[in-house]
Amino acid sequence: MKQSQRSVLILPGMLADEDLGTTIGDLEIQVSQPDAETDFEILDNHIGSLQMSGQVLIRAGKTLTLLGGHEGLISQGAASKGNLVTGLKDGPVKDALQHVPPLRGLLGVGSGTISHRDLSMTDDENKTLVRAHLTTLNPKGGGDAVTIAALHPLRGYDEALEQLRDHLRASAETASPDAADLSPMLFPDQPRYNAKPDVAIVENATAWQSAGDVITVYLQVARENEAGIIADHDTEFLHDYRVALRKVRSVLSLFKGVYPEEQTAKFKGIASELMSPTGRLRDLDVYLLARDDYFAMLPPSLHKGLALMFEMFRKERRGAHRALAAHLRSSGYHSAITDLQAAFAGTDGPPKGPMADASVGDYARRLIWKRYRKVCRIARGITADTPDDQVHELRIGCKKLRYLMEFFAPLYPAAAVKPILKPLKRLQDNLGLFNDYSVQQAFLQRFMDGHEPLGHKQDLVLAQSIGALIAVLHERQKEERARIMASFSQFDGADIRSQFRSLFNAKEA
């Protein structure tokens, strides 16, 4: 009986027939002629989710084959709608990719040619004892060929299985790597992207050095997303790009006194200019991604207007993407960002401000402590009747606090930071939703006031749906608003307070 294909070996090299030989002890091995070579492509997303979880996804012709995990080798049809995992047809490969972030597209990591052979091992009566399917990947570029052997044991012939396994390993060029190392072996030149690289901030560095390090790293992260935005692989490229630039900008505004004031203002201006052409596209992405949620907010009778609205968003997005892609390809953009990178990466670095040489440890503690106290001050003043402006102020304060804590996290033991970040995150989620609902209302209102007319009847349908949507969002905003005081009081517990004090207030500790 066919056993589940538990046993998969990754064998460096082509594993040529000559290397495999024709016998193992008194058993014979037969290897079929290889089928015609075809092209293959290894797929992964920009953040390498598959590789990090020890999976290798191979697309060859109409088949997707996944290596790694408990299943060994599994495959399904390659047909898909778009490049997201959700767009794949239902099947075992799709099931095994459920851990992949849903918004990240599957992209080609590298390609080459693939060929298959079947191997069987037989006894003196020509009974098959074990079979293997050999898949040889021959990459384009400087990588090494690899053969994947899927062993198909037959029940009751365990010894033969072990013999074949040993024989295949011995026939390979080198020891078997893990599935996670397969893709780097095939495509050693493929750059590895990390959206949140560790920035080594050390206690005895200066604030100026640390700020420069963080900015340099995140400008690089932003740049690594440019090609993906231009190619429009998925919406996460733009998202990461903006997050990276926002980090740059927040270092500039939070690390007070590290650079001279007018220099800081100039850098901040450049960062804002880099950000601003990206806003409209990101907004449209966010709405389009939440399409199902919006439909769920309204009764079916109002869906027609939503469909109209999303169709307009979709069209506008196409233009917005084209404009941003052109911008990112322009020489003006290129020199703006390379100049900014050069300002931080150059041997001299940017000019120093009054706090430049402060030790980063003291500097961080002072900033965080100050920011923490400010957040608490604002929050404690908030009641059910406080105007929304003040809530927004609290949200910004929390955001700054969070940025600071994350920037300087390497200075503190992770176990100490985690428990105080958790209630902060919860408070921020609450404030974030409150803000999102209000921003969305304003966005929709603006859209309704300013859209291209569709004709009287359609405009009316559209207006009805948007009006209803705004009403729902308004209701939700009120609900979020009502939760804020409770979220804050959780964050403002006595133990959290004392932990903040002991971590960030050296003087009073």
Partner: protein, 253 residues
């Protein structure tokens, strides 16, 4: 899970040939099949090139049903496993009754080692006296090859009488599905016998008949089911038709 026994009170009628091809046909449709070679001669194992396994230690068998699972060998074909000849009749009785009982340890332990079979095909040895009630009870369908001669007619009658004699223990004649085996069309006697028997036992005899065929004989040389090496030949087609009728009867049983 269903049990199909290929059985006859007469030797050399084509039980083993039928077991091998029926088991193969079931596996081909995706059912997970265990073919049990109950003949100490080990003929069906031979056709699949499976060497007879060491004789199971009786006590160990009763105490530790996993022993059975250990003796099972994968055939060269998907979904088809063989339990090579290695049981005494007494073992066999116990094996059957335990397989039938879904609570039995044997069944559970087979399941535990990853062999949850849909169909068990039994290739029975040619001796009615040693085949106990237990076997007749356990089988969902008893496939009986009948060579259409006057002598076979008598033996078939005896078989039915024997089965009816078991009425008290709920073995029904309905389980019997006979088919004409090694039919030679040019023999007038064969034709007459078949007509007469179909008349007498209209429900007990399958429509499809297996012709006498050198392809079946060649199984011994090729050591594979006819269905695997001569799929388009008349005998293979006959086995497929027999299989289709067996499937229908199983569904109705």
């Amino acid at each position: 899970m269903k049990i199909v026994a290929c059985y006859s009170n007469k030797g050399g009628v084509g039980k083993t040939a039928a077991s091998v091809n029926l088991a193969y046909a079931f596996a081909e449709t995706g059912s997970r099949v265990l073919l049990c070679d109950l003949d100490p001669q080990g003929a069906s194992g031979f056709y699949f090139r499976v060497k007879p396994s060491q004789k199971l230690d009786n006590d160990a068998f009763f105490e530790e049903a996993k022993q059975v699972a250990k003796a099972i060998r994968g055939s060269d074909y998907d979904n088809l496993d063989i339990l090579p000849a290695n049981m005494t009749f007494r073992d066999f009785d116990v094996f059957l009754s335990r397989m039938k009982n879904s609570q039995s340890r044997l069944k559970k332990s087979l399941k535990a080692v990853g062999s949850d079979y849909d169909i068990i095909v039994l290739d029975c040895p040619p001796n009615i006296s040693t085949l106990s009630e237990n076997v007749l009870q356990a089988a969902d369908l008893i496939v009986v090859p009948v060579i259409p001669t006057t002598l076979s007619e008598r033996t078939f009658e005896q078989l039915l009488e024997f089965v009816e004699g078991q009425e008290a223990t709920k073995v029904s004649k309905k389980k019997i599905a006979a088919f004409f085996s090694m039919v030679q069309r040019q023999k007038v006697l064969h034709g007459e016998t078949m007509a007469r028997m179909r008349d007498t036992y209209p429900k007990r005899i399958l429509k499809a008949a297996l012709p006498f065929s050198t392809d079946v004989e060649r199984m011994g040389v090729n050591r594979a089911p006819v269905l695997a090496f001569a799929s388009d030949r008349p005998s293979a087609k006959a086995y497929r038709q027999i299989f289709a009728e067996v499937q229908t009867r199983l569904r109705e049983s």
